[in-house]
Symmetry: C2
């Protein structure tokens, strides 16, 4: 098999693993589950990811990179804070479309004490990246008069993130509900979002 295909296989494994993690959690899927889905043997997965922890690490690193790419894309479009935040919220909530999948942050946080230090570190970096970015958007938006709130902008950024993570847990439990609005009313209230 070609080296290029090798790379694809590694990605394919991460793809499937990510699906399992987001639906069942990291501790509730096995190399056998992956192997059956991908149609290879478990030994082949061990070739790419000797330990399950290696797979977990690769998984969250890629997830983090994807996320960072996505917010860089949002910024490159150079829209207003309102539009940037809208795009972020959409991305975030689309992720849990129908409640089928959770953000990796939620899953890994729920299982945190069972995970290795290096994975826990990645989880922390993921959080900080998101809060830093949200903080920028929110404080810029306030300066520009789009948003209005009192107190620390970082506090609001952190509240938005917590709300989104919790909201995903809730949507999973009530998948039938129509969670339609682009911008959750709670966030409009929090920011005194105009328009």
């Amino acid at each position: 098999m070609l080296p290029s295909e090798t790379k694809e296989m590694k990605e394919r494994i991460i793809d499937v693993a990510q699906g399992f993690v987001q639906t069942r959690g990291f501790n509730a899927f096995s190399y056998r589950d992956l192997a059956e889905q991908i149609l290879i043997r478990t030994a082949s997965i061990h070739y790419y990811f000797p330990k399950k922890d290696d797979l977990g690490l690769a998984l969250i690193q890629r997830y983090r990179a994807d996320f960072e790419g996505a917010i860089r894309n949002i910024d490159d479009a150079e829209r207003s804070p309102k539009d940037r935040l809208s795009a972020y919220l959409k991305m975030f909530l689309d992720l849990s479309k129908g409640g089928a999948r959770l953000c990796l942050f939620a899953v890994f946080s729920a299982e945190l004490p069972t995970l290795s230090e290096r994975i826990q570190d990645e989880v922390r970096i993921f959080y900080e990246t998101n809060i830093d970015w949200l903080n920028d958007v929110v404080s810029e938006g306030r300066s520009a008069g789009f948003f209005s709130f009192s107190g620390e902008s970082r506090e609001v950024a952190s509240a938005i993130f917590s709300f989104l993570e919790g909201e995903m847990l809730v949507r999973r439990v009530f998948p039938a509900e129509a969670h339609s609005p682009e911008i959750p009313p709670a966030i409009r209230l929090l920011l005194s979002w105009k328009g």
Copy 2:
């Protein structure tokens, strides 16, 4: 052994199991883990809870009952909506003291597809109980002039719950941080909480 001691053993098992669930998740502890902690054999645990699912169900049913008792106690004290909400928030956030333990809702939601229907049903009831109660408090508080917000009170109730669940995940990832204020600033903002 006396029947009264039997009851204690059942409770003791649930106590220890709940600790494991709140720290590791339901899929990441075993009857062996419980047995070692309690100093009995796994077979004895099966005597009380034939299947692990039976244990999980007993666990969340007791948790739900405890929670309902707690909010009934808050209501019985007949304080203002502000005081009732404060007490609720305190209870909720104390639960995750230092991020060591998560609310069962967060844990079970993260693992939802791996759990039995009857446990999933309990999770839904837990959510609805909390939202109904929060909705009462929040809308009463608005009528009484303590809170001020536009839109549906149920939307705000649901936002508070989502925020709290997400906040627990975050606190677990950053246990060092000082999460001091009795009332999270985000909730003050959301409700235009005066005082």
